[in-house]
């Protein structure tokens, strides 16, 4: 019985943390949908956003800092689209991928120049007393973070499916030449997507920053997003959500039940184990877009 409650607690913790993995993965999905490119800079964008936010908070207070950071991320997005991706329209995806690598270095470098290399704490002032739900402990900050992540995800899904720009974006994802022949403005939609990816990066940076602190290792959460993308399917928003939850739960359960047997450290490999299984049996992921082939 104790094991059961322990398992439930672990599962809930896993789901809550998983929702934050989903959040990070969403940034990748956005860019991938729009330009079929794995945006290597997403982790750096998350770091840059979080650092900018914690750097600004002591100067102007939380809310103004948040607004300013949204502005800064918008600026980064417009810069990235204008200076890097617009000249590369029609280039090989691999070329664009390398360009995102360059953008990652630019962002990490300028983050160091502006905000230094010191780690920072980020206090969002969330209540800390754990929730008790039917005899199960739930961490309050995790719960609130998960709510925030869920809110964001719902907004994004609505954006994709209920707005004109969302439709344009999905059209571009399928065939950008055909999309242009419909009068869909590639540049405008791309800029919007980069801005969105920047805002998602900020949200992820905030949630993770509040949990583990803001420091340079943060850009490595991109590595956590990778298995999430493999499991969910790299162009699928529902995929990113479900896969993020799966990874979170797998990590928590793995660490809780298998960890003690082998001396811990299971958490870090669980995501990759699950991803490996998917690569073997369902390589396009849970909700990834199968190549549609008519026979």
């Amino acid at each position: 019985m104790n094991d059961l409650i322990y398992g439930i607690e672990l599962t809930i913790t896993g789901l809550l943390i998983g929702s934050m993995y989903s959040m990070v993965a969403l940034g990748f999905v956005l860019i991938f949908k729009a330009s079929s490119v794995f945006n290597f800079a997403q982790g750096a964008m998350t770091l840059f956003a979080a650092l900018t936010l914690v750097g600004l908070i002591p100067m102007v207070g939380f809310w103004v800092a948040l607004l300013l950071t949204v502005g800064v991320m918008g600026g980064v997005a417009v810069f990235a689209e204008r200076a890097i991706f617009r000249p590369l329209v029609g280039a090989e995806p691999l070329v664009i991928f390398v360009a995102t690598l360059g953008l990652a270095f630019i962002l990490e470098g300028s983050a160091q120049i502006f905000w230094g290399t010191q780690p920072h704490g980020l206090k969002l002032g969330l209540p800390v007393e754990p929730l008790m739900i039917g005899g199960v402990f739930v961490s309050m900050p995790d719960f609130i973070s998960a709510l925030a992540a869920a809110f964001f995800v719902i907004l994004l899904v609505l954006f994709f499916h209920k707005t004109r720009i969302g439709l344009g974006l999905r059209a571009i994802a399928d065939d950008h030449v055909a999309a242009q022949s419909m009068g869909i403005q590639l540049r405008k939609v791309w800029t919007i997507v980069w801005v969105l990816a920047g805002i998602v990066a900020l949200a992820a940076g905030m949630l993770w920053g509040a949990r583990i602190g803001v420091h340079f290792a943060m850009s490595l959460i991109a590595l956590k997003a990778l298995p999430v993308l493999i499991i969910g399917g790299i162009e699928s928003i529902p995929g990113a959500i479900v896969a993020g939850l799966i990874v979170g739960v797998a990590e928590a359960l793995g660490e809780g039940f298998i960890g003690p047997l082998v001396g811990g450290g299971v958490q870090d490999i669980m995501a990759y184990l699950v991803a490996l299984l998917f690569l073997m049996f369902r390589p396009y992921g849970l909700f990834g877009e199968e190549m549609i082939e008519r026979v």
Binding site: R170, S181, G183, I292
Partner: protein, 281 residues
């Protein structure tokens, strides 16, 4: 009638080096329907893409010449602006958004329109033209049959309320009966919706049956043009395009023309000679 589209002496290069169009001139009259005939690689698609300015996505560029739509140059315009002016291209190979539903595809076609009631009535109009699509509106477009995909592609173009549709190879990969059906719809579209159509097509016989005027392209040039009925009767066109070339299949159209001219020249020469001869006597 004043042309809705006028192309003059257009030259196109791909990647700055490959000379694809070598001086193409043509015109589409207002509400007219004109065919651009020619074999694979003759430059038909490139001509259409030069108008819609989708060349850039393929690293192509108009190096010389003028392209005017309703008297206004569209050479430097963004593809999206060209759509807003009223030119919509139906790309070769349909190019539907496979993972979007049929209806989402059609809605995407109205992207450049202000969204609202007009989109709804336009959708109904498209479904009227293509009842098969109405039944499949919630299906992902990738699962449509080839003929339905072509219908959806044309319907999607209609959603943009164009004044001119650039229709690239609608017969591609379709059974003859379906081709006939599609061409009849295109004909009806031109007649009933007041939309001009520039049709690039390899299936010359089909195309000539619905257009008023046609241009024949080869090697990046227009090598012949004329009214559809005249071209359909023209021996050289028939010989080269309607599969009547028999053992001379590999001859180029221009070569045939040159031969014909040479033969005519010889005849004239002989005539003159015999006329001169008769003078002498």
């Amino acid at each position: 009638m004043a042309p809705v589209l006028r192309i003059e002496d257009v030259e196109v290069y791909y990647g700055g080096v490959i000379h694809v169009l070598k001086g193409v001139s043509l015109a589409v009259p207002e509400k007219g329907i004109v065919a651009l005939l020619g074999a694979n690689g003759a430059g038909k698609s490139t001509t259409l893409k030069a108008v819609s300015n989708l060349l850039r996505a393929e690293r192509g560029e108009v190096a010389r010449g003028t392209i005017e739509f309703l008297g206004r140059s569209v050479l430097k315009l963004d593809p999206a602006d060209i759509v807003r002016l009223g030119i919509v291209q139906v790309l070769e190979g349909r190019r539907l958004f496979e993972h979007l539903t049929v209806e989402e595809n059609l809605r995407a076609g109205a992207y450049a329109q202000t969204w609202g009631e007009t989109v709804k009535s336009d959708l109904e109009r498209v479904y009227e033209y293509f009842p098969a699509l109405a039944e499949r509106r919630e299906l992902k477009a990738g699962y449509l049959s080839g003929g339905e995909q072509q219908m959806a592609a044309i319907g999607r173009a209609m959603m943009g309320r164009p004044k001119l549709i650039l229709l690239d190879e609608p017969s591609m990969g379709l059974a003859p009966l379906l081709v006939k059906e599609i061409f009849q719809i295109v004909h009806r579209l031109n007649r009933d919706e007041d939309v001009a159509i520039l049709l690039a097509e390899q299936n010359a016989l089909m195309a000539l049956s619905i257009v008023q005027y046609a241009y024949v392209m080869e090697g990046g040039r227009v090598v012949s043009e004329g009214r559809a009925d005249a071209l359909a009767r023209d021996d050289t066109v028939r010989r080269f395009y309607l599969g009547m070339a028999d053992h001379e299949e590999h001859q180029s159209y221009r070569k045939i023309l040159e031969e014909k001219r040479a033969a005519a020249g010889m005849r004239n020469l002989r005539k003159r000679q015999s006329a001169g001869g008769s003078d002498d006597s």
